[in-house]
């Protein structure tokens, strides 16, 4: 990744006019996408991600703002004047043309010379391993093959940016997983910036360099998959990416000087989250004096939400002993076996419920059953304060 921006979204707003209640699809969005990046727009349906992608492609007008492509304003260009290409959700292959003619379509419209069109089209068909299907019509291909042809067709004119509109949503699970790998590989191989729209968080996490999580026409958070999973900024992001326990807490002040024993752990955690501050909070469930990470500063005494991922919670049978740091008592409400993991629903002593996930490793023993009293440890380095 270099410092060049492939795309700059500059205060872009999209309003769908309506007599009584106009819909704001995008609300003053600004961010940049780097050259060579695999960038994902992730969000539930109706969040504006597809609208934004279609605006970059030139299929929707921009109500306000600008879109820059490598520094040039493309906001007012027609889609056929923009050096970006799209892989459409339902592929939109031309049914009356063969695979070869579909892939060559863009190059022909650009008026490239015949020899170049031939070599480039064949190279694309090789890239997607469809050379032997060149003379087939789209209706004679399977869904996965059509998907690959749509990709080759969009890549053939060598666009500066490739837009992908939920391209995998129509495929079955196995094929989808295989295509993820293939897409990622093709992106690396071609070095073209990919902007990928999806509502599938797993897809986003496995493929992207960076993800923009969107909801209600706004960007909630932009970051690498790890940043977004580990340090979600708000409840929406925490809940949308993976599973999250949201607990109530009260800020008691800035960071308390850490105890000597936990100093090593604390500095390790520091490396994960550089631009974050530390807060001292009391959890409402009874654990007091935790030093946790936060992206924003809160005043002392403020009620905030904190998040912990289910797999970071530790559960032990009730025992008597010393050194019970960050531990509360609770009851096992239900246990579901999920193959790689076991999911445990817990009821804390104060009535709050908590979700935990334990990996079914070789030495994992289910030393407790439904109804058992257990000790629940919530490690403070895994807790994150969420903004409103």
């Amino acid at each position: 990744m270099t410092d060049t921006h492939a795309i700059d979204i500059v205060s872009v707003t999209k309003v769908y006019p309506h007599r009584t209640d106009p819909v704001v699809a995008l609300d003053n969005i600004s961010f940049s996408i780097g050259d060579n990046e695999f960038f994902t727009l992730l969000g539930p349906s109706g969040c504006g991600k597809t609208t934004l992608l279609r605006m970059i492609g030139g299929f929707e007008d921009i109500t306000k703002g600008q879109i820059l492509l490598f520094g040039d304003d493309i906001s007012r260009l027609q889609s056929n004047q923009r050096p970006v290409n799209t892989v459409f959700q339902q592929y939109a292959l031309f049914p009356h043309l063969t695979v070869y003619e579909n892939v060559a379509f863009g190059l022909k419209r650009l008026g490239r010379d015949t020899d170049f069109i031939k070599t480039q089209t064949h190279a694309m068909l090789e890239l997607i391993r469809m050379a032997e299907f060149a003379e087939r019509k789209p209706s004679q291909l399977s869904g996965g093959q059509q998907q690959r042809v749509a990709l080759a067709r969009a890549l053939a004119p060598q666009p500066k940016v490739l837009l992908l509109d939920e391209p995998l949503s129509a495929l079955d699970l196995k094929l989808r997983q295989a295509m993820r790998e293939e897409l990622k590989e093709i992106q690396k191989h071609t070095g073209i910036t990919f902007i990928f729209v999806t509502h599938d968080q797993e897809e986003a996490l496995t493929m992207s360099d960076r993800i923009a999580v969107m909801s209600n026409g706004q960007v909630q958070q932009i970051g690498s998959p790890k940043e977004i999973y580990d340090n979600p900024t708000n409840i929406f992001v925490a809940n949308f990416i993976g599973e999250a326990n949201i607990l109530k807490a009260k800020v008691t002040g800035p960071e308390k000087s850490p105890a000597k024993a936990s100093k090593a752990k604390a500095s390790k955690a520091q490396a994960v989250a550089k631009d974050q501050v530390k807060l001292c909070v009391d959890l409402e469930c009874g654990i007091k004096g935790l030093n946790i990470f936060s992206q924003s500063q809160f005043q002392k005494g403020k009620q905030i939400n904190v998040m912990i991922r289910p797999e970071r919670i530790q559960i032990k049978p009730l025992s008597r002993g010393r050194g019970k740091v960050n531990t509360v008592g609770g009851t096992v409400k239900s246990i579901s076996y999920l193959g790689t993991d076991t999911q445990v629903q817990l009821l804390l002593d104060d009535g709050e419920s908590l979700l935990a996930r334990l990996q079914n490793t070789i030495d994992a023993t289910s030393s407790f059953g439904v109804g058992n009293k257990v000790e629940i440890t919530i490690p403070e380095i895994s807790i994150r304060a969420l903004s409103e």
Binding site: Q78, F88, A92, F94, F105, G106, R136, A154
Partner: protein, 310 residues
């Protein structure tokens, strides 16, 4: 229909196969048999019979009618046989008229259909309704009205003169232009409706894909939209061309005697005492044969299209 049959109980579907419920197919056989096969057979037989001079036929088989159509033996039938150009000429003119009517209907009908199909779903039925309103009136009345509209002292000429576009009325009655106008007005919906149905099913993501791949509006139209809605266009063309070829109201009322078309020629043979029924039947059979040949070519092109890519 299938649902209705299966309601009859278990095994209802197999009983159709073993022939017990042929009665259900009776309406279809009735339509095809009584209304299609028998009339055409009657026509075929009549075309080989001898003309009775008071109208009607004499039951003596002869090739006289076909001979009259194709071969010229002079006024008294004693000259060496030459090709008779009179009727072939009428066919040729009718052909051109039908072809032009088809082209004009397409040029106006396609944009109209496209316009309607791209409106909001709610207002589409309103536009279709507008298109069909004139067709609630009988074709004869519409054609006669057209005659009044375009005659020398009619509203069109008056209007053009009052605006100073022309000084003297243009005589439009009894011209090819008048026939074209009549055919166009008679058959436009037959072009609009099938094309509309095709465009309504058209996936507009294809147009976006074409634009994305550097096509301008015209290349998108010619390289993507038209090929994708081709079946509707062909259906529309057939539905306009074939009735135009045999039309007799528009040519008769608007074209006058010198712009004779096939329809008028046939009509003439069955009208009054001077008619020649076998000759009228023969002309009809020749027209039918030509149309069948055109449709066969179309069907073959169609099946070649569908098996394409191999």
């Amino acid at each position: 229909m299938a649902g209705w049959i299966t309601k009859g109980g278990n095994g209802a579907q197999t009983s159709i196969v073993d022939g017990k419920q042929h009665i259900l197919l009776m309406p279809a056989w009735f339509v095809i048999g009584i209304l299609l096969v028998i009339p055409v057979l009657v026509m075929l037989i009549y075309s080989f019979l001898t003309q009775d001079f008071r109208g009607g036929v004499i039951w003596e088989f002869t090739l006289e009618a076909y001979d009259q159509f194709f071969i010229d033996r002079g006024l008294f039938g004693d000259e060496p046989a030459r090709i008779e150009w009179t009727y072939l000429g009428i066919f040729w003119r009718s052909f051109l008229q039908a072809l032009f009517a088809m082209v004009f209907c397409f040029l106006i009908g396609f944009p109209t259909a496209y316009f309607i199909a791209t409106r909001a779903p709610k207002s589409r039925s309103f536009w279709l309704f507008l298109i069909t309103i004139p067709y609630w009136v009988n074709l004869l009345i519409r054609t006669v009205s057209m005659k009044f509209l375009i005659r020398d002292t009619g509203p069109l000429n008056n209007w053009l003169m009052s605006w100073g576009v022309i000084d003297d009325p243009i005589s439009m009655i009894n011209t090819n232009f008048a026939i074209q106008l009549g055919l166009f007005y008679s058959y436009l919906p037959f072009m609009v409706l099938p094309i509309y149905a095709s465009i309504e099913r058209y996936n507009f993501a294809l147009s976006e894909a074409a634009a994305d791949l550097y096509s301008n509006r015209w290349t998108t139209l010619f390289k993507v939209v038209i090929p994708a809605v081709k079946p509707g266009i062909i259906a529309g063309c057939i539905l306009v061309f074939i009735p135009s070829l045999g039309a007799f109201l528009a040519p008769d009322l608007l074209g006058g005697a010198k712009n004779f078309m096939i329809g008028s020629l046939v009509e003439e043979q069955f009208k009054g005492q001077s008619g020649d029924w076998p000759f009228g039947a023969a002309v009809s059979m020749i027209l039918l044969t030509i149309i069948m040949i055109i449709l066969l070519f179309y069907a073959r092109a169609q099946s070649r299209d569908n098996n394409g890519g191999h």
